[in-house]
Structures are given as C-alpha cells and as structure tokens.
C-alpha cells in the first residue's frame, strides 16, 4: 500500500514535469506546426544557465532563476530568427531535420562548455516544503514541481484566453492566411512562441535538474519523452498535454515499480504506437480533415 502510494506520488510529480516540458513543445507546434527535436537540449541549456549563475556567479537563487528565464527567452528569439525563419514554407522534412541539427549543435556546445559530468545544484529548497504523510515522505522538490506546474498552467491558460498576444497565437495556429489578412504579424507570433517555449523549457529543465541532477544526455532524453505525451494529448492541445503527461508519468513509474525497471523507459513508446494505431489525433487533438 505504501509502495503503491509512493509510486503514485512519484508518477504524478514526474507527470507534471513532463507536462511542463510538453507545454513549450505544444506551444511551438500550435503556432508554427514545427516538431521541435531540440526541445530536450533547450531544457538542458536552461538548467545549465541556472547552474552557472548560481554556482559560478553566485547570484541569489530567485535572481538567478529570473535571469536564466530571461536568457532563454532571448535565446528562443535568436533561434527562431537565425534558423527557423529561412525555412517558413519549406517541406516538413527540412524543418524536422533542422531542429535535429540544432539539437546536435546545442548538445555539442553544452558538452564543450560544461562536459558530460553530472552536476548537482546547491540545496536551496526550504525543508518545510516536505510533505510528511505518515509513512510516505514527499521531498520538497516534488512539491515545488507540482506547484510550478500549476502556476505556469494557470498563467498560460490566462495568457491564451485573455491577452492580445495569446489570441494572436491562437489565431495563427487556427488559420495562418486568415490571421495574416486580419493584420496579425505572423512572423512576430512565431518568434514569440519560440521565445516563450524556450522560457518554459528552461524552467522545466531547472526543476528536472533539481530532482535528477544536471546531465546533458539525461535532460535531452526527456525531450524525446515529450513525444508520447503530446501524441496522447493531441499535438495541439495544452490541457491535453498535461493530462497525457500525468498518464505517461504514472505508466512509467508503475511499470518501473511493479514490472521491470529497464522496461520503464520503453513503455511510453510502446504505448505511443498503440495510441497512434487507435486514435492518431490523441485524446483532445483536432481531427484533421484532408481534401485533395
């Protein structure tokens, strides 16, 4: 029973993290239909920027957090401007491969600067965040993960619903030519969505780094875990991504706990194939109707 509850809580926390990671991914896909293979590297880069600011520059933690979010926001802009904009209107495979190339470049850069070792953040979370439920202890990181997940979810929900930029982004996602003819600056929307996605990615990278330590290979592997999540949720639904992330997180921890730890990393992909065969547009995705 305790084991079950512990797995449940772990699963939910991991699910929330996947959900956070998936949110940035869905944002890019929603506005520009780009499948971003460099998402894991964006997570890792955010985590490394935070690490450098905290340990090397010795900034206080909240300042470092805000500065690294700002840094990745700008980085997102730069990536869009330099690499993605020349490809607007090119076939799918070029855009996919460009993000793959970008992922390799970012990975190489990070290995060059920080090396392949595992880093750990200094302990900065207060101990009172620990949740003690009798036999089960929830460490403060998980509480923070769930809390940040909820905060960002609310912020983005409000952003998409009420802010003008959010409405522009939704309109571009819905129908690009129509949005353009109504005066929406589509290129600016693309740039903004990359910037916001980079920001969200770096935030989830930081939280993941607090939990598992920071390592280029581990964090970029999370970027690939996002795929089963977004497919299950429907590629263009942020709420769906969160729910799907919880399902995938639980699936992973329960497989790891009850069946075999080595199967843990593959089970989301096996599940993914089944979803694709049964409901390719996911739980909440838009069903595409195609005409010649």
């Amino acid at each position: 029973m305790d084991f079950f509850l512990q797995l449940l809580i772990n699963g939910i926390s991991i699910g929330f993290l996947y959900g956070l990671a998936a949110m940035g991914f869905v944002m890019i896909f929603k506005s520009s239909s780009v499948l971003n293979f460099a998402h894991g590297e964006m997570l890792a880069l955010g985590a490394y920027i935070f690490l450098t600011l905290v340990t090397w520059a010795e900034l206080p933690v909240p300042v470092a957090f805000l500065v690294s979010l700002l840094g990745s926001f700008i980085l997102g802009f730069v990536i869009e401007r330099l690499f993605l904009r020349p490809l607007i209107g090119e076939p799918l495979i070029y855009v996919i491969m460009l993000t793959v190339g970008l992922a390799a470049m970012m990975k190489g850069f990070m290995l060059l600067v920080w090396g392949g070792n595992l880093y750990i953040y200094p302990d900065f979370l207060p101990a009172w965040l620990t949740l003690d439920l009798g036999n089960i202890v929830v460490p403060p990181v998980y509480i923070t993960a769930i809390f940040t997940g909820l905060v960002f979810l609310v912020i983005f929900g409000l952003f998409f619903k009420y802010s003008s930029q959010g409405i522009y982004m939704r309109s571009v996602a819905d129908n690009q030519p129509a949005a353009m003819s109504l005066g929406v600056h589509v290129r600016r929307v693309f740039a903004l969505s990359w910037a916001i996605a980079a920001l969200v990615a770096s935030m989830s990278g930081i939280v993941l780094g607090v939990i598992n330590g920071i390592n280029v290979h581990d964090l970029s592997a999370v970027g690939l875990k996002v795929f089963p999540v977004v497919i299950l949720g429907g590629l263009d639904s942020i709420g769906g991504a969160i729910i799907a992330a919880l399902i995938i997180g639980l699936l992973e921890t329960f497989t790891g706990g009850y069946i075999s730890p080595s199967l843990r990393d593959v089970v989301p992909y096996i599940f993914l194939i089944f979803i694709l065969m049964v409901r390719p547009y996911g739980l909440f995705g838009l069903v595409e109707i195609e005409r010649v």
């Binding site: 020349p86 490809l87 491969m97 190339g101 470049m105 690939l224 992909y269 694709l276 065969m277």
Partner: protein
C-alpha cells in the same frame, strides 16, 4: 527517319518515345566514362591507398548502401523514418546470429539478414496505413526505441551487452580476410544495390512511390494502392539497411547493441539530406561526406592530442563531432536544401554549357 544516337548531350530534349526517356545513360559517352571510372577505381584504389584509407572506403560503401535505402523511403516515397539505425542494427544482428548459430556462409547470411530486416521494417511500417507526415515520423521514432530495447534485453538471442563475435567471411571457399579483399566485396555489393535501386525507380513501382510522395490522395485516386506501396517501400528500404548492417557486422567481426541508437538514425537522415533527397547519387555523396567528416574530425583531434596543444584542456571528440555534424545539417538545409547532388549537377551543367553557361 532514324536519328543517330548522339555521342554527347544534345542541346535539348529530343526523345521520341518513353523508352528513350527512361534510359539511365543518355549518351554512350556517359556509359563508357562510368564503366572506365569504375574499372580504374577498382585497380587504383587498392594499389594507391594505405590500409586506413581502404578502411574508410569500405565504411563509405557500407553506409552508402544503407543511405540508399533510406533515400528510397524518404526521398522517393516521402515517408520520414527515424528508425533506420535500428533496422541497420537488426541486419547486423541477423547476420551475426545466422553466421554463428546456424553456420550460414557469408553471402547467404548477408542476404538473409536483408530479408529478415525487410520483414521487421514492414512490421514497423504498418502504422503508415493510418498515419502520415509527423505522426508517422513519431511512430518510427517509437520503433527505434523499441528495437533498441529488444536488441539489448533479448539476451538469449542477442547475448545482450556481451556482443557476438562473427567467423571470418568467405565466399566459395575464398576467405575475405583483410581490408583489401573486403573492399572488393563491399563495392561489388554497392554497385549491385545501386543498379537495383536505379532500376526500381524506372519501373511502375518507382513511379508509384514518387506519386505517393507528391500527393498520396491523388495517387490513391489514380488507382495506386498506397498502403501496399508504402509497406513495400518500407520493406525495400529496410532490406538495404539490413544488408548494409550484415556487411558491417562481418567487417567489424564483433558487434554489440551500442552503435544502433537514435543518433545513428539521425546520421543516416543527415546523409540523405546533405547528399540530396530523391537522388540515387545523392545518397552516395551524403555517405561520403558524413563518413569523411567523422573520420576527418577523429584525425584532427588525434593529431592535436599528439602534438600536445590540447594538453590540460578537456577536449574529447564527442562535442566537436556533434557541433560539426549539427552545423553541417543546418548549413546545408538553409543554403542548399537539395544537397550535394544539386551542387554536382550545377557544376556539371556549367561545364557542359561552357562558354555560354548562365
């Protein structure tokens, strides 16, 4: 009136029937040059090159075969697969298991490895019946991870992380020991596979693949059973990957599951894109480019290490390689999306049109 076949390129298209248009070589000059070039290559390369160069040439031949297969799938049929590295691994393991446990001879083992992989590829191509575009790409990504997991964890068959040691290859009692003898084997395989690919693309199957790539709904409307052809394309592509994997396993003499990761799949897609999508010669250009890039970077870092310039600095091969590899992909996509094949075409036509090139 029968027009005599020109020796050089005519200054326009003067085809009188479809048969002329389907010819591989438009002129006798091209045919003779290709044949002479191949003969010269077979005579000169083993004579001029040292063992290391021969080793790189062999790797190029093997990767060219795999890249050719991927180009049939991506460049001609338009189905993006991220599982080619895993299929290559399936081929390598199939050849290794057939050669050790069932004592297949070299040729039989390599070719049956191709067929085994073709079957696996068709199974993982099944989602293409319902999916296309991005969704299919993600399904093949899942296939890559599942195959990788099976290769590592099905220990009774694949020996897990211990790996398998293969017997030395031999054809009809003639042992292929050493790089030079393997050089002939691998290039004969490459030429055969190129010929097969070129000829598939000239038949109704090739035209159906291209129709599916350009517009699958319209292709279906014209009476092409697209599901069957997509599966066939997956099968052919994986056959190439499996054959290349088998050749690679025999060449390396021992294999384990480590190399067949997503990174390898990405490397193959990079070859196809850098070489040129939908171009047979492009696959070979891409394989030459990526393999030489890998080996060149290895050589440079070794040289710098030995010269003692980098002592104290923690510079290993991996980050430099990743940077250069990613940079090559990004630069090619932004500046020459049609790849080296297009550059080659431009160079050739500017020679042909000299002095009036434009």
């Amino acid at each position: 009136m029968k027009i005599k076949r020109p020796v050089f390129h005519p200054c326009g298209n003067y085809f009188e029937n479809y048969k002329d248009e389907l010819k591989i070589f438009e002129t006798d000059f091209g045919r003779i040059c290709t044949a002479a070039g191949l003969v010269l290559f077979f005579i000169l390369a083993p004579w001029l090159c040292g063992p290391y160069t021969i080793y790189v040439l062999n790797l190029i031949a093997i990767t060219s075969i795999a890249a050719l297969g991927l180009n049939i799938l991506i460049g001609f049929t338009g189905q993006i697969s991220l599982g080619h590295g895993a299929f290559f691994g399936v081929g390598a393991y199939a050849a290794a298991i057939l050669a050790t446990d069932y004592h297949f001879p070299f040729l039989a083992a390599v070719i049956s490895a191709g067929f085994v992989t073709a079957f696996v590829g068709m199974v993982f191509g099944l989602p293409s019946g319902r999916l296309k575009g991005l969704y299919l790409t993600i399904a093949t990504l899942a296939g890559q991870f599942i195959i990788e997991y099976v290769l590592i964890h099905w220990e009774s068959l694949t020996k897990g992380t211990m790996g398998i040691v293969l017997p030395p290859p031999s054809i009809f009692g003639f042992t292929l020991d050493g790089d030079v003898k393997y050089f002939f084997a691998s290039y004969i395989f490459l030429i055969a596979m190129v010929l097969i690919a070129v000829n598939i693309m000239r038949t109704r199957y090739g035209r159906a693949f291209i129709a599916i790539r350009d517009n699958d709904r319209a292709a279906e409307g014209m009476g092409i059973p697209i599901f069957r052809y997509k599966i066939l394309s997956f099968g052919i592509s994986s056959f190439y990957a499996g054959l290349a994997g088998g050749l690679w396993a025999f060449y390396m003499t021992s294999i384990s599951a480590e190399p067949f990761t997503l990174a390898l799949s990405v490397e193959y897609i990079a070859m196809v894109i850098i070489g040129g999508l939908g171009s047979i010669s492009g696959s070979i250009f891409g394989a030459v480019f990526i393999t030489s890039l890998n080996e060149g970077l290895r050589w440079i870092t070794d040289f710098l290490m030995n010269a003692g310039i980098l002592e104290g600095i923690e510079l290993t091969l991996a980050p430099l390689r990743e940077l250069a590899f990613g940079g090559a992909i990004v630069l090619f996509i932004i500046f020459e999306p049609r790849g080296i094949a297009e550059v080659w075409r431009i160079i050739r036509s500017s020679f042909r049109l000299w002095p009036f090139s434009y």
